[in-house]
């Protein structure tokens, strides 16, 4: 046998060997759960049933019920809005900080270390701490009152018009560091020559930023936005721990609604059907995102190679 053929066979063997544990664990853990989820969305299961295997065939009725459910529509819109708002918020603050910091200055290391702490903090800890801070008679309103010189008693938690915004603020506090570190890395890897050349030609800082730095940074910006958006769609601990979807339904995002249906209303089948629809929706979003990332990844590699 030729040497190249032996190599090819060895590669095939290696491939089988290393992928085996991955495929096995997906088949043993995720596979059955996915099948069960599909099963539950066609068979009505309640806690009064003997077990999930003893549920009743409902055909497409559960799906029809979910598709027509206005609360579900509202949750989808809320989740998308939440993810979008927090992604933009994180990005604006993170990029802003990175722009202020990417050039070396004396206390750079100090600010950098402090600024990454929020994303290292356990989300559920952030939730409970925020709850204390955000009470109507809590320290945040206390500080705002002393700054404004009059009593500021904003109902961060109990006002249904503000509650979702409060979650956005927590998410920004938690994850602005993500955009910050990514954009710091991006700015640090920019080639210096084009900026210097433009400076010599007398271009203003604003012009240099918009016409040279921003276009070069585009792939990295896209990366920061896409990854943050996907994570925000899945946010659960901060939304749940303080609000449980309330006041009213004002913080009922997709994860919260599915959780409520499963473990509060014990409507497992409805939750399964919802999950299925959400999963399909997310797969479409993720495939689009992956498509974008795959293209931008090549450009990122180019920028980084400089």
């Amino acid at each position: 046998m030729a040497r190249s053929e032996i190599m090819l066979q060895r590669t095939k063997r290696y491939k089988k060997m290393v992928l085996f544990p991955l495929i096995l664990s997906i088949m043993l853990i995720l596979g059955p759960a996915l099948i069960l989820q599909l099963y539950l969305s066609f068979n009505y299961y309640s806690i009064y049933s003997e077990g999930w295997w003893a549920s009743e065939w409902y055909a497409l009725d559960i799906f029809k019920d979910v598709v027509a459910d206005e609360r579900f529509h509202a949750a989808i819109i809320r989740s998308l809005g939440f993810a979008l708002a927090s992604t933009i918020g994180c990005f604006v603050i993170g990029f802003g900080l990175a722009l202020l910091m990417y050039k070396n200055f004396r206390l750079q290391w100090f600010y950098y270390i402090i600024f990454i702490i929020p994303m290292l903090t356990v989300p559920i800890v952030i939730a409970y701490t925020a709850e204390m801070i955000l009470y109507q008679k809590g320290p945040l309103n206390g500080i705002l009152s002393s700054i404004m010189g009059r009593d500021m008693l904003i109902m961060w938690i109990t006002n249904p018009d503000i509650a979702l915004f409060t979650v956005v603020l927590m998410e920004i506090w938690n994850w602005a560091p993500f955009s910050f570190i990514i954009m710091m890395a991006g700015l640090a890897s920019l080639p210096k020559e084009p900026v210097e050349a433009a400076q010599i030609l007398g271009a203003s800082r604003i012009k240099i930023f918009f016409e040279i730095q921003l276009p070069l940074l585009r792939p990295i910006i896209v990366l920061a936005l896409v990854l943050r958006f996907l994570e925000a769609m899945a946010e659960f601990p901060k939304t749940w721990a303080i609000f449980q979807g309330g006041p009213g339904t004002s913080t009922e995002t997709i994860p919260v609604l599915i959780y409520l249906n499963t473990w509060y209303y014990f409507d497992w089948s409805k939750a399964a059907a919802m999950s299925y629809i959400v999963m399909l929706m997310m797969v479409v979003i993720i495939l689009t995102a992956i498509n974008i990332l795959q293209k931008e990844n090549k450009r990122i590699a180019q920028v980084q190679a400089n």
Partner: protein, 291 residues
């Protein structure tokens, strides 16, 4: 305006803005620490008590020492087992992270050198991480109940292994890509087989990268809430889930105890995170950003 004046203004603006954000970042952290030293009456006082006049260690001794004194608020004491949770969190996060990084590194080597996964497959692997876990944890908990894995460390280790694998593969691949292939060719000429090349040439070269990957995934697993919350009941409870149990039926949350436990959960992560700060961008971007 001279150039120095302009620079001074620049610096003033920069430090002002940075310091404002610094205070926003530090205040909640300060509040956790301050609350952990406050007696019950100061937790929700108005006007807010920023630093208690009678600081107390009772929250810490209550949470970590199980002390029974100082407890006018002794509700829900019996269900709290912080040491069990600490043990569970440690076992679960270390084992699942170790498995994820070891298997991930071998896959990553295969991808980097032999393209065992095409680029498209590599991006599809990200799905394991990007699909929100909530869509599957319900059926998963039923399935785990059926096969007896509910409320077990094994069950949690398995699911964390799967969901962190994309990070492990992508991040270690980014390190392996940087190892010069000549190194391996030299080893091959000297008669080393593939196993020896990987374990004795490649892995030692990227050992700091492997350690960074390990610590990075450890942070993610340690702080995970939703999956642990749903797949554990009493025996496999992890620290983030334990934290939610400091809640009385009538009096609301037991903030001081929660804060004392929070400090214990968070400080190790912050230390680990700061240690690997140069690799955080690489980790969170699945190795796409390498500097």
């Amino acid at each position: 305006m001279t150039k120095t004046q302009k620079q001074n203004i620049d610096n003033l603006v920069r430090y002002t803005l940075l310091t404002i954000w610094l205070l926003i970042v530090l205040f909640p952290l300060f509040w956790i620490v301050a609350t952990s030293f406050k007696p019950d009456k100061d937790w929700l006082a108005w006007p807010p008590v920023y630093w208690s006049e009678e600081p107390t260690m009772s929250n810490y001794s209550n949470v970590w020492g199980g002390a029974m004194e100082h407890t006018e608020t002794q509700y829900a004491q019996s269900i709290q087992k912080p040491f069990t949770a600490l043990r569970n969190s440690t076992i679960i996060s270390f084992i699942s992270t170790f498995l994820s990084v070891s298997f991930g590194a071998f896959i990553a080597y295969g991808v980097s050198r032999y393209k065992v996964l095409s680029e498209t497959r590599m991006f599809q692997l990200l799905m394991l991480r990007m699909v929100p876990p909530i869509v599957l944890v319900g059926p998963l908990s039923l399935y785990y109940t059926t096969i007896g894995l509910i409320d077990s460390l094994t069950g949690l280790i398995a699911i964390y292994f799967i969901t962190t694998l994309p990070y492990a593969v992508w991040m270690t691949k980014s390190f392996i890509d940087e190892v010069p292939i000549e190194l391996e060719q030299a080893a091959e000429i000297m008669g080393a087989n593939r196993w020896t090349i990987i374990t004795e040439v490649v892995f030692p070269v990227i050992r700091s990268g492997l350690l960074a990957t390990f610590l990075f995934i450890l942070i993610l697993t340690w702080s995970e809430y939703l999956v642990a919350f749903i797949l554990s009941k009493t025996d496999a409870v992890t620290l983030p889930v334990e934290l939610a149990k400091y809640e009385g039926s009538s009096e609301g949350r037991v903030y001081g105890r929660q804060a004392a436990l929070s400090v214990g959960i968070t400080i190790p992560l912050i230390i680990v995170g700061i240690t690997i700060r140069k690799h955080l961008a690489r980790g969170f971007s699945f190795g796409m950003i390498r500097k």
